[in-house]
Structures are given as C-alpha cells and as structure tokens.
C-alpha cells in the first residue's frame, strides 16, 4: 500500500513538473501593436518562451514558434514569432471562416471556470474567435480584442492585445495562474504544434500549460482594478465607430455635439485610447441612453410624414 502511495505521489509530482509555465510580468509601458517585437521598448527585456512541440507525436516542429507575454494596467499582451522556411507557400486566406486551413496562431485561455477563450489570428491579419456565452454575458457582449501580424523573410510575427476586462481576472492579490496554451498551424509544413504539448485536440484542457501573471505592483493596482470594471478601450472604440457610421444615431449625435466631439477627438488619437478609456465609457453611456428615444422620435416623424394629411 505504502509503495502504491509513493508511486502515486511520484506520478503526480512528475505530471506537475511536466506542466509548462510562463511568467508574465507587469509592464508600465504598453507595446505598440504593429507586429514588430524587436525594437519595441515594452518587449525589450521580456524573455522568450521555449520552443513548441508537434501535436500528437511531440518533437521539435519543422516550423518552430516561440512567444513573449506581459500585462499592462488594462490588457495581457502576447507576441508570437512563427519561424517559416517557406514563407512564399503560406496558405491563401480566401475563406477565413475556415481558419484551421490557414497559417494561424491560436491563443487558449481559461481565466474563469467554464470560460475557455479561444482567439485566432493569421499571418495575413485575419481574426477569428470562440468566446463563451458566459463571457459574452459577463461582459455585456463587450468582448473586443485586437491583434496584428507582420511577415518577414523567414518568419511571421503576431501580437495580441487581450483585455483584462475580457479575461475578468487580474493578479490583484498575488500571482495568478491561468490555464493557457498557444498553438500554431503551419500550412507549408502541414504541421500543427503547440507550446504546451497536446496529444489530441488543441482544446484539450489537460494539455494546457499555465500563463502566470505576476502580482500587480501596488502603484498600478487601482488602474488594474478599474480595467476589470468597464469595457476595454478596444470595445469602446469599436462601439463608437459603429455608432458614428450608423445613420440611425445621427440625431442623437447631432443633439449631443459636445459628446461627439470628445469621442471623435479620442478616436483620432490612438495614443489616447488607453488613458482616456473612462472618458470614452462615460460619453458613450450618455449617447446610449438617448438613442432609444431618438429612434422612436424618428419613426414617429416618418410615420407622420407618410400617414398624416
């Protein structure tokens, strides 16, 4: 009996030791999301992960991948470097709905129970996602994230910005371990690989490693807390752009020129998105509350125009 217990203990220890971890530190500097990792001060001292393993069989892939990660006061950033000896043979992306046929990196994160977030981004700058309904409802469907990729001679890079608001968690009280994996499809090599070894589906939780966010420094704690309480600027800017381009909002916008001016000014200056996220949220809320009334008024006006003598 004792031997069995020791065996079980050793086995558990081995299994635990086999799980990969990546430590992501807090960064006061936000990376510039342009697919350039070298030369970006935010990434400068961030260590690369170790290499990937081929799915099912294991072993070093022919097209290897590595990544860096950090988090800021409002988002987790991941930068992937995808080596590719045959850059000229990357798959066309005519029908990106079938992203599994394309050259992509896939981020898997389970920040909260039952919330496996799956974000996919391709070498040719196409995005796809699988966001759980639970996450969608939790965030009021404000699940925006962005990424950017860039091709070089023998590799392509992809940078992800994943809002803390989307994750719903941050390392406020101590280090935070999030089940995580980064996976890759290389179509020239017809090769699937991942950072944490997967013997089956990329989605298998058992094969996930851990993204460990180091505890947030005290000086940034308040900002991080705030980021968890309102949608990220990515969602807010997307929302403002959709409102700006939607004719049915024009009466509301016209009635609130000051609000629209503030939002436009922020929208024109991407450098301000992050620092003015609160202003974005407040002003959008003002418009949202007036919108229903404006549309009703517009409908009434059209009905009056058409159906009154």
């Amino acid at each position: 009996m004792k031997k069995i217990l020791i065996l079980v203990f050793l086995c558990a220890l081995t299994c635990h030791a086999a799980r990969k971890e990546y430590m992501a530190e807090y960064s006061a500097v936000h990376p510039v999301l342009d697919g350039r990792i070298e030369g970006d001060p935010a990434w400068k001292n961030v260590p690369w992960s170790d290499g990937f393993e081929k799915r099912v069989t294991g072993g070093k892939p022919d097209a290897d991948t590595r990544f860096k990660a950090l988090y800021t006061d409002d988002a987790l950033y991941i930068a992937a470097e995808c080596l590719e000896p045959d850059m000229d043979k990357l798959a066309d992306e005519h029908n990106y709905i079938e992203f599994w046929l394309c050259d992509v990196v896939e981020v898997f994160l389970i920040p909260l129970k039952d919330e496996m977030i799956h974000l996919i981004y391709s070498a040719r700058n196409n995005a796809n996602e699988e966001i759980p309904g639970k996450t969608s409802v939790r965030t009021g469907h404000q699940t925006g994230w962005i990424a950017k990729s860039r091709m070089e001679k023998d590799r392509w890079m992809a940078e992800f910005c994943i809002p803390l608001y989307l994750l719903g968690v941050a390392p406020q009280r101590g280090d935070l371990a999030i089940p995580f994996n980064l996976c890759r499809n290389s179509t020239p090599k017809k090769e699937l690989s991942s950072w944490s070894f997967q013997k089956g589906s990329f989605k298998s939780e058992q094969g996930f490693g851990r993204m460990i966010l180091k505890k947030v420094p005290a000086a940034a704690a308040a900002k991080v807390k705030k980021s968890l309480s309102r949608p990220h600027w990515i969602s807010l800017i997307q929302r403002w752009r959709s409102i700006r381009g939607d004719y049915s909002w024009q009466d509301v916008i016209a009635a609130n020129p000051g609000v629209a001016a503030v939002l436009d000014a922020i929208e024109r200056n991407p450098a301000e998105y992050s620092v003015k996220a609160d202003v974005l949220a407040e002003n959008l809320a003002k418009l949202e509350t007036q919108r229903g009334a404006a549309e009703r008024k517009h409908r009434e006006a059209v009905m009056k125009l058409l159906f009154e003598d």
Binding site: P132, H141, Y247
Partner: protein, 885 residues
C-alpha cells in the same frame, strides 16, 4: 415531530422511486428534495446529492418542488456523475421545464439560445430565441474524430410560461437521437450532422449533470421540475406513462384556476391514458385566454383584430395573438405607383361567427381623388399541416401558415389527426382528396393531369365561418395603378358577418409620387441587377390548345405557362432561367458521366425548334427579358467535364452556332455544370475557354469559396450562401457577375422574412449582380402533399393549380426583397440627380443619403428591412422635395 415527518416522506418517496425504477430503469432522478445538509437528492443514488450554485433555489411548484433559475449564467444545480449514469449506448433524459423568457435578443447571433441541461460540453439541450428545442451530443469515433449528433424541433414548438415536458432519447441500437415535447416526438436524427455516420456509443465521462445555463449561450430563466435519466430510450407511450402523475397534478390545478376550461379538463381527467400534450394544450389555452382577456379589454365585442407585419420573422397560428400595441390599429401601407405592397391583420373571434368576410371600400384622398377597392386583393393565410423541414424530421407534423388563398375551403385541415384534404372541383361536383400520405418519392415533375386534379382557388376572397378563439390571419396586397395620383388615401376594411358589420379597420394608403425603376446594382447604377429564379417548365403540350395541363411543371399547358409567367413578372422576376427541360443542340453521353462510353449528337427536330421559339415568344409577350437569355443546356452543351478540346471543339462550335441561329441573337449565357467542385470544376475550364472564344458566355452555380477560382473564366457565377463583398470583388475584378442562390433555397413557404432580407438588402449591399434561388416550382410527386418527399420540403415558392399557382408568404418575401433593391436603386438615382443639381442643400442631402445607404448592414442584430425601406423613402422624398407627396 419534524423528524418523523421527514422520515415518513422519505420512505414514501423511496417506495415510489422503487416502483418507477422497476418499470423503467431510472439511473438518476431528482424531485428537488433536499437532505438534512441541504444537498439536492438524487433519488437513484442518495449518496450522491447535488448542490445549488449561486442564485439557484428550490421553490414550490404545482406538482411539488422545482428548481428556480433567475436568468443568471452562473446559477444552476450540479449533480455528480455516478456509476449508474455512465450510459454509452442508450438513455433518456426527461425533465419538466417552464421558461420565463426567451434568450437575449441583443446578444450576438450565436448566443441567442440558452442551455438548460448538460453533461460536460458534449451532451446538451438548448432553447433558442425562435422557441426551438435542440439536443446535441458530440461523440469521438474510433479514429479520434468528433462526430456531432444534433437535432432541432420545429420553430415555436416550445411555449414559454407553461410547464412542458422535454425528453431526449439516444439509442445506438435503435439508431435514433430524438426530442420529445410533451410526449410527442418533435425531431429525430440518425446520423452525424455533417456526414452519414450512424449514431455511435457515447464516450464515458465523469462530467457532472448540470441543470441550468451553459457556458457558450445566454442564461436560462425559469423553472425545472422533476428530472430523470433512464437507461433506456423510452418510447412515447413510456414517456407519457412515466410522467402522467405530474401531468395530472398540473391539470387539477388548472381546473381550479381556469373555470372556462373546467369541462374540457374534467373530460381529460376522465381519460385513462392522459397524454402529456393535452396537458400542455390546456395550459396554453389558459394562458391564451388570460392574454386574450387583456387584449380585448374585457369587451363583449364579437371580435377584435390586430395589425401584424406580414413580412416579419414572426408567423401566426390559430392560437397566436397579435402584439399588444397593434390592437384595433389602422392598416398603414406605403406603395409606389404600380408596386405590389402587402399588409396583414389577425382576426381574433370571441365567439363563433358565420359568414365572415372582410370587405374593402373605395380609397379616397381628402381632396376627393379616388382609387377603386379593386386595387387591393385580400387573401387568407391558410395554416395547414406540413412535414418537418429537416431531412431527419420529415415524419414530424406541424402547423404552418403556408398558403395565400382566396377560398379557405380549397384545403380542409383535420387539426386532430393533423391531415390535409385538397378540394377537386369537377364539373359534376366537388370532392376532397387526402393529401397527407407519407411517401418515399423523390421523383421530379411527375405529370398530374389538371383535368383529373381540378384544383382551383377562387379569384376573390370568400366568406368563412370563424370559430371562437381560433384566430385567422388575412393578407392584403395593394397595387396602386401606374397613373394613380400620389397622396394619402383613406379606406375602410369592414369586417362583416351574416349579421352585419362587426368592426371596421381604417386603412391609410400613401401612394408615392414615383414608379420604381428596374433594379440596378449597388456599386454601379449603369449595371442591371438581374432578378432571376430557377424555373422548371416542360412545355410539350404548348401547341395543344386542349391540353389539360398539369399540377406540376411537367405538362403545363399554355394557359398555365402564361399564368406562371405573369406571376413571376408580378413578383419582380425578369430573368427566370430558361428553361430547365427542353431539347436543344447538345452532346449526349451514352452513359452518364463516362467518357469511355462515347456519346452522340442529340437529335433536335423541327418541332423542338418550333417549341422553343414559341416558348421565347410567350416569354416576351408576358414581359420576361430574353436578352441576355440565361439558358439551360445540360452542362456545357452536355460536354460537362468530359470535354476534350482537340476532339470536341468543332462539334461545340457547331452547337453554339446552331443555338445562336435558333434564338436569333448571341446575347446568351449557357449553363455550365451545376454545383461542380474539385476536379469536376477544374475540368470545365477548358470547355469554358473554348466557349467564350466562340462568343458564348457561361453561367453556373458554385459554392462561394470557389468563386476565386472561377473568376475570369465565366461570365456569371451563381454563388451559394451568405453574400460577401469579398466574392463580388473577385468576380468584378475579372469582368464577371455574381448572383446569389441557396440563401436559402425556396421551400420554407411560411417564412417571408429571410427571403426578403437575404435576396433584398443582403445581396444588394454585398454588391451582387443578381439572384436566382432554387426554385419557383419544383415538386417531388404531388405538389400539394408535403409528406411524399422524403428528403426535404418541395423547393418551391408556389404550388400549381389547374389554372395558375397559389402564392406563399415566402414568395411574397422574395418580391419584397426585389422591391427593396428597386427602392435603393431609386434612391441612388435621386442621389445622382441631386449631385448634379445646382442646389447646395440637395447636394448635402444627397451626400448624407449616399453615406447612409453605404452603411446598411443586414447583419446588425435586429435588422428591420421595413424600417430601412421607410428610411429609403424618407431620403427619396427629401431629395425630390417639391414633388407632391
């Protein structure tokens, strides 16, 4: 004392459970009894109680205890998996469910459903916004591939606000995954959704059993009652027997609460084998009575009515009630000159009313201009019994509003037996023919003599007898004449019965000061938008003046052919594919698809040529466009993918020249191989190249993902599925056109909404050049029998009669989609004119309108094509200000 009571109850419950468990092997059961430590009992395994999470709580229900879920994604009851629950080959999961509200409409499309049962991610049941219940199982096969078995009930099957019993059965040996709602099978499936892989044993997992919301969906709000899992796939009889105790308790409660239904309930209570569906029916009736009292305001009037949107996503059945804010409202219609425009109202009789007939008055403006009542056509929306839409559910019978009839008696429906009877009007009297026989047919164009099947609808609306609380929908189609004076007209639609006028609906008709132009594309006002459709017609009786004609497309006579063409024209179609069954020059392979077997030139007789010329003449006479002519020629003149330029080039040239000579011009598009893909697609490229070199253009269908390959090789591709500017961009860049089909195919006769949106603003804003979905008039075997096609509903917008066709709401939706494009074209024209005008104000409005039009997005949640069209009209009126309104 409390302790004694608890033990007594526990003993009783255990006895009851043992009794049930012996009859059917129950491996899990909860009646939401809690143990002393607050755990929720699993009666089948008392040692494995479940727990409530977050706001889930246990409340009193009609039949005992139930789980209450407030609509929070985290609230649920979780039961640990037990050994008994590890069922891989056969099981039933059954539960009582009462949902308070349907899923969140503001959510992204894929989130507009809520789960209420799951075991892990791979076993789950959901309720969708459109009230469909689904059951889904993902099973890994021996090769490690996930197989997805899912089945969906029909629309509107699940009624919110009442207790429904939902059961899902899974049986590998029986080969079926089925959904039962209140003891009746509503859907089933026997294979993988994507491939024909039969049901596989479930992968055994230790996932807990969860009652409540699912992670990828909207949260569930409502109650869940007794839930059981059985080790067998129960039959409907067994489900009814197992759940009858709860059904009886619900019924007894309603006997006390709904005195109007007392007699009906007592009769049901006297039945030995009370069906669960009857209990659901009583609850629904009680709910409707309550809502009906609220809507009628307690009035003693014999009826009330509600104005409903004929083109909306909601369909109306006899127990449907109109929206609260539509009661006794006026009918408001806005139409351009010469445009057909629908309106609709729902009549809700509060007692039996014989001889009911809506009668429309003359239309009159305040300054005395008039239009006759005859500009409007009134029809009844006939609800008949139809088969399930999915191939797996063709045996399911459901009520659907599919026919627009003048004479309600053309089809009689037995709502008890769920069967239809079609009236045949012989010279010596009428006879009803049973048209609900199941068949295994997939025969196209079976000849059904119109003489032996004299099916005739009346030419104008006929009176009917209304039955108390059996609501009827009417459909009004108004067409102001081309010379109508614009303005606001008033009329009255009297709802008459044998005893006089019961109510009067005010009608307001705004006639716009313009006619709609022929449709043009969104991206170029100089390019025609082609309004096509696949049209089957076999005209071998065309020269026979005495030909009886047929109810199907095989053997229609000239009168029927002309009636169909007029109907097509009146629905905005100018380019039907011509014509899918005729004899023209082509190469016939001796054996289908085998080059080795050789082939021969098809013999075209002088009579064939004469038929074809006559057909073209009639097409032109009835207003169809024949330049360009979209011609079916059996797949690249029959050469299909087997063409070899070196061998066949000369023959191909001869056939093209002969066809050009026959038609009299060269503006013709010849059909390629239908829906070709892979090597069958690429093998055509050679023949397409040669055909185009010889001055013959090609059009054919393709999945949209092949458009990039096809672009530049043919003139017109008819691409399936959701339109996208990606694909139109590919075709336009290489000088081609792109149309849309299968978005969806015809056949969902009761649904105008998707046809209007997808073949209207949907294709227009994606910069497509045309539409031609399949099809106008296809039927397998009998076109009036929906049960004799084992694969799918007949892919038809209309149903043939002896003297024409009967329309369906879906067909009216197709027309409204085309009209939306014509309105958008009109706006583009006015924008262009204003841009060239000297008025700065007009230019400003034009720029704003242009920007607005560019931003129409049919994929926005809650997109409303009617409101979008009204805004188009508003812009047109602003730009044409000064013209009379």
């Amino acid at each position: 004392m409390r302790r004694m009571h608890w033990k007594h109850l526990a003993a009783l419950a255990a006895s009851w459970w043992l009794f049930c468990a012996e009859a059917q092997q129950i491996v899990f059961e909860t009646v939401f009894r809690t143990n002393e430590s607050g755990g929720v009992m699993n009666e089948a395994d008392p040692g494995s109680p479940g727990k409530l999470e977050k706001e889930a709580k246990i409340v009193d229900a009609v039949f005992g205890k139930a789980l209450s879920l407030p609509g929070d994604i985290y609230s649920r009851a979780v039961f640990p998996a037990t050994d008994k629950m590890e069922l891989s080959n056969e099981l039933t999961i059954g539960m009582w469910v009462k949902c308070d509200s349907l899923p969140d409409e503001s959510a992204p499309k894929n989130k507009r459903a809520c789960g209420f049962f799951s075991r892990g991610w791979n076993w789950r049941a959901e309720l969708a916004k459109n009230r469909r219940v689904s059951a889904q199982f993902t099973v890994r096969d021996a090769d490690g591939r996930d197989r997805y078995f899912a089945t969906f009930s029909e629309l509107r099957d699940m009624e919110p606000g009442i207790w429904n019993h939902i059961a899902v059965t899974y049986s590998v040996s029986g080969g079926k995954l089925s959904i039962y709602l209140n003891g009746e099978q509503k859907a089933s499936r026997d294979s993988d959704v994507y491939r024909k892989v039969k049901l596989l044993p479930l992968n055994l997992r230790r996932d807990p059993l969860v009652l409540g919301s699912l992670p990828f969906y909207s949260p569930f709000a409502g109650m869940i009652g007794r839930t059981r899992m059985y080790a067998q796939a129960l039959t409907p009889e067994q489900i009814n027997a197992q759940e009858r105790d709860i059904a009886l308790r619900i019924l007894k409660q309603y006997a006390a609460d709904a005195p109007e239904l007392k007699a009906e309930i007592e009769a049901l209570l006297a039945q030995k084998n009370l069906p669960l569906s009857a209990v659901a029916g009583i609850q629904k009736k009680a709910l409707r009575l309550r809502e009906n009292r609220q809507l009628s305001g307690g009035s003693s009037a014999p009826l009330y009515y509600g104005v409903v949107n004929p083109m909306g996503p909601e369909t109306f059945l006899p127990d449907s009630l109109p929206p609260k804010d539509s009661i006794n409202w006026p009918l408001r219609i806005v139409a351009a000159k010469n445009e057909f425009e629908p309106a609709s109202f729902l009549v809700c009789p509060q007692r039996d009313i014989p001889g009911f007939l809506p009668v429309l008055s003359e239309f009159r403006t305040k300054d005395g201009k008039t239009l006759p009542a005859s500009i409007a056509d009134i029809r009844i929306v006939k609800v008949i019994v139809q088969a399930g839409a999915d191939t797996a559910n063709r045996h399911i019978r459901a009520l659907k509003p599919v026919l627009l009839l003048h004479d309600d008696a053309l089809v009689k429906v037995d709502y008890e037996k769920m069967e239809n009877y079609l009236r045949l009007s012989f010279p010596d009297g009428e006879k009803y023919q049973w048209i609900s026989k199941y068949g295994d047919s997939f025969r196209f164009e079976e000849y059904l003599s119109a003489k032996e099947n004299p099916v005739h609808d009346a030419k104008t609306i006929r009176p009917i007898s209304l039955k108390k609380h059996f609501n009827r929908q009417y459909w009004l189609t108004v067409r102001p004449p081309a010379d109508a004076a614009p303005g606001l007209y008033h009329a009255t639609l009297q709802l008459n019965s044998e005893g006089g006028t019961l109510a009067a609906i005010p009608v307001r008709l705004r006639v716009l000061p313009f006619e709609l132009p022929v449709p043009k594309t969104n991206y170029d006002l100089n390019r025609r938008f082609f309004t096509g459709i696949y049209y089957r017609h076999n005209w071998h009786n065309l020269f026979d003046k005495n030909a009886p004609g047929s109810l199907t497309s095989r053997g229609r006579n000239e009168r029927q052919f002309r009636a169909e063409l007029r109907n097509l024209r009146d629905h905005g179609v100018s380019y039907p594919t011509i014509v899918m069954a005729f004899n023209l020059p082509r190469w016939d392979w001796n054996k289908w698809g085998s080059a080795e077997e050789g082939g021969k030139v098809n013999t075209v007789t002088d009579q064939d040529r004469a038929y074809f010329r006559r057909c073209l003449q009639i097409l032109r006479e009835e207003g169809m466009e024949t330049r360009p002519l979209f011609l079916h020629t059996g797949g690249n003149f029959g050469f299909r993918h087997l063409y070899k330029s070196a061998e066949h080039r000369g023959l191909l040239k001869k056939m093209i020249e002969e066809t050009h000579a026959l038609i009299g011009h060269k503006d013709i598009e010849f059909y390629g191989v239908d829906e070709a893909h892979g090597p069958y697609l690429t093998a055509q490229f050679e023949v397409w190249r040669d055909m185009r070199e010889m001055g013959a253009e090609v059009f054919t269908t393709s999945v949209r993902t092949n458009v990039q390959q096809i672009a530049g090789k043919i003139s017109t591709v008819i691409a399936s599925g959701v339109p996208d500017r990606l694909y139109s961009g590919d075709m336009h860049a290489r000088g081609g056109r792109i149309w849309n089909y299968a978005n969806p195919q015809a056949g969902q006769k009761e649904k105008p909404f998707p046809y209007r949106v997808n073949f209207g603003f949907g294709v227009y804003t994606a910069n497509y050049d045309g539409i031609a979905t399949y099809a106008y008039n296809v039927s397998a075997a009998h076109p009036w029998n929906d049960f004799d096609n084992r694969v799918e509903p007949d892919l038809a917008f209309v149903i043939g009669t002896a003297d024409g066709v009967v329309d369906t709401p879906s067909w009216e939706g197709y027309r409204e989609g085309i009209d939306d494009i014509r309105y958008a074209t009109k706006l583009r024209e006015e924008i262009g004119k204003a841009g060239k005008s000297g008025s700065a104000e007009k230019k400003r409005i034009a720029a704003a309108a242009d920007g607005w039009l560019d931003k129409i997005n049919v994929h926005t949640p809650g997109f409303d094509p009617e409101w979008t069209r009204l805004q188009v009209i508003e812009w047109i009126l602003k730009l044409t200000e000064g013209a009379e309104k």
